[in-house]
């Protein structure tokens, strides 16, 4: 039963991660794949605060979220000043650099990992309680992002994503919107990181590298970018699928690359065969091609 609970917790955590990542990359159109590093920042801050200073765990998880939020603003403010494309490279540099940095800090466990992180709820109320907590927070995240993207703020994001120049001409500050959305998405990931740390009680820098980035990106692309339920479906499908592979009892040297191959292969497959994902967004990928062509033909017809 513990195995099932763990899978459910992982599904819940990845629903939070994928949904918050979709907010950044899908709804706001910010090109970054460094989402897992904010998950890591939240996890490490929460673990260290509760372990070293004895801070109550719910508060330390919140602090983890705030830490991730601030760190993301630190990356986004200078990188977004230049151009959206640079954010991707700056964020990769930030992600891999921070992982490298974490490997050399023995105070946070170094490359060997941070162990003996205090657990939360499980001792007093059992694993079921943690499953409920994570799933409730996952549902809350999905609803919050739905509320955010379908309200006035969502329309503002859409306007900015579709035509940043026109958006700025209306007197809106595009950089501020981008930084805010990036920070909100990263803050949510940081909270998920805290939840991860206090359940698994072990953190290792390499867990939050490019494989994790590929996994979260796969969930969003496969599920359907810029939809409420797409990342949820993506997270469920892609958490359950690797479990099937584990039943083959493959050696770890094969299992890791096979999982990576599966994730990246699925993204490539969906990119070329079904770019709109399992649940297509209303306007996604119809994109510039059709609109542009249609626009041209309309103009031609008029002339």
């Amino acid at each position: 039963m513990d195995y099932v609970f763990t899978i459910l917790i992982l599904i819940g955590l990845f629903v939070i991660l994928a949904s918050s990542f979709d907010l950044v990359i899908g709804h706001c159109g910010l090109i970054s794949i460094a989402h897992p590093i904010f998950y890591a920042i939240g996890a490490y801050i929460s673990a260290m605060l509760s372990k070293q200073s004895g801070m109550p765990i719910p508060l330390s998880i919140l602090c983890g979220g705030v830490g991730a939020l601030l760190a993301s603003a630190l990356v986004a403010v200078p990188a977004l000043r230049v151009s959206g494309d640079y954010l991707l490279i700056a964020s990769i540099g930030f992600q891999l650099g921070l992982i490298e940095l974490a490997k050399h800090f023995h105070e946070i466990g170094g490359a060997g990992g941070l162990t003996n992180i205090p657990s939360f709820l499980i001792k007093d109320f059992g694993r079921e309680s943690y499953v409920v907590l994570v799933l409730v927070l996952a549902a809350a995240t999905v609803l919050f992002i739905r509320w955010l993207t379908q309200g006035p703020y969502g329309r503002m994001m859409t306007a900015m994503r579709d035509d940043e120049l026109a958006f700025s001409m209306l007197g809106r500050n595009a950089i501020w919107v981008k930084v805010a959305v990036f920070a909100i998405g990263s803050g949510i990931a940081g909270i998920a990181g805290g939840l991860y740390a206090h359940y698994f009680r072990f953190l290792e820098p390499d867990q939050f590298g490019l494989l994790q980035s590929s996994a979260v990106l796969t969930m969003v692309v496969v599920g359907g970018m810029r939809t409420t339920m797409g990342p949820v479906i993506g997270a469920i499908v892609l958490q359950l699928m690797p479990q099937i592979i584990t039943f083959f009892n493959l050696p770890p040297s094969i299992l890791g690359p096979l999982q990576g191959l599966l994730f990246t292969g699925l993204v490539l497959f969906f990119m070329f065969v079904r770019p709109q994902g399992l649940l297509p967004a209303a306007d996604l990928w119809a994109g510039r091609n059709r609109d542009g062509d249609a626009g041209h033909s309309r103009k031609e017809a008029r002339s």
């Binding site: 230049v82 540099g93 590929s214 692309v221 890791g256 990246t264 990119m271 770019p275």
Partner: protein
């Protein structure tokens, strides 16, 4: 520690090892300039180039030059696959920059995992031994690898320069880089030129990976870090400036390797990511040297030339 001989040795070794960094940076900058793509899939091309050479030399026991040719063939083949089945399709669909970015990243990861499945995760080299005989020149140990590597890099750079400046296809490449639509209007086949630039980059990175693989151990995921170095150099050198990227790669290579004088060697890897991050944040347009004054050449036209050339 700051003995002149030690410093000279470190600087020389850093300079020699920057040879392959230069090739990676030049290839990345070329594709960025012509194809307008931050080609993170270059890591996949590098991986294929290395493992093709590895198969030739270590598994098929072919001589080094055959392994070298096989390495280039591997890199070029992967470049072709990426351009033909990837970039060209995405261009046709008018995919957004984000989509193309994701494709390059995921493609490089996919290739790395596929190679891990085939060759395992253990690091390896092209030749069984990484030992190169050393000669003392003025107190500096120069290995038998250094001069051929530097010569190869300089030759590649000179050939690329000559190709871009004097060959018809090279000039087409610059025209496409400048304005692809206008170039097409003038009858240049844009897709052919974009393919050519990808293949050329494939050749350059494969040579770089052969040099790297004869000096250091390589594993499937190593190319990503090497490529990130190229990204940092390209940004510092100024986007669109191939030769600026080459110079930046030499400077970064020397700085990273000679950092051992100031910081523990364990932190050298971290420096790369610091370069990358700060290159974008502080120098997004690269280092700009003061602009050269372009004074117009006064050309005095001979009175005859103003007429029909016959003095009328």
């Amino acid at each position: 520690m700051f003995d002149l001989a030690v410093v000279s040795q470190i600087l020389w070794t850093s300079f020699a090892t920057s040879s392959y960094f230069v090739l990676f940076a030049v290839a990345f900058a070329l594709v960025l300039k012509v194809n307008k793509v931050f080609n993170f899939a270059q890591a996949g091309v590098m991986t294929c180039g290395f493992y093709a050479a590895y198969v030739g030399v270590r598994m098929l026991n072919l001589p080094g030059y055959a392994g070298f040719m096989l390495g280039i063939a591997g890199g070029v083949a992967m470049s072709f696959v990426l351009e033909y089945f990837g970039f060209a399709v995405l261009r046709q669909r008018k995919a957004s920059a984000m989509f193309v970015f994701i494709f390059t990243l995921i493609a490089s990861q996919f290739i790395a995992y596929a190679v891990m499945m085939i060759f395992g995760t253990w690091p390896t080299t092209i030749f069984a031994s990484m030992f190169w005989p050393v000669t003392l020149v003025g107190g500096i140990a120069v290995s038998a690898w250094d001069m051929p590597a530097i010569t190869a890099t300089v030759t590649v750079l000179a050939a690329l320069w000559a190709f871009l400046k004097y060959s018809r296809n090279g000039q087409f490449m610059l025209a496409v880089a400048d304005n692809a639509d206008l170039a097409e209007l003038y009858g240049i086949q844009k897709d052919r030129i974009l393919m050519m630039s990808m293949l050329l980059a494939g050749v350059i990175v494969s040579i770089g990976m052969f040099l790297y693989g004869t000096r250091a151990q390589v594993q499937a995921s190593a190319a990503t870090e090497l490529m990130l170095f190229a990204v940092a150099a390209t940004i510092l050198g100024g986007i669109g400036n191939i030769w600026g990227a080459a110079i930046a790669a030499v400077v970064l290579g020397v700085v990273q390797n000679s950092s051992i004088l100031f910081i523990p060697s364990a932190w050298q890897g971290f420096l790369l990511f610091a370069f990358l991050f700060f290159a974008i944040v502080l120098f997004p347009s690269g280092f700009r040297l003061p602009e050269r004054r372009n004074t117009l050449k006064r050309t005095v036209v001979a009175p005859q030339a103003l007429t029909d050339g016959k003095g009328h």
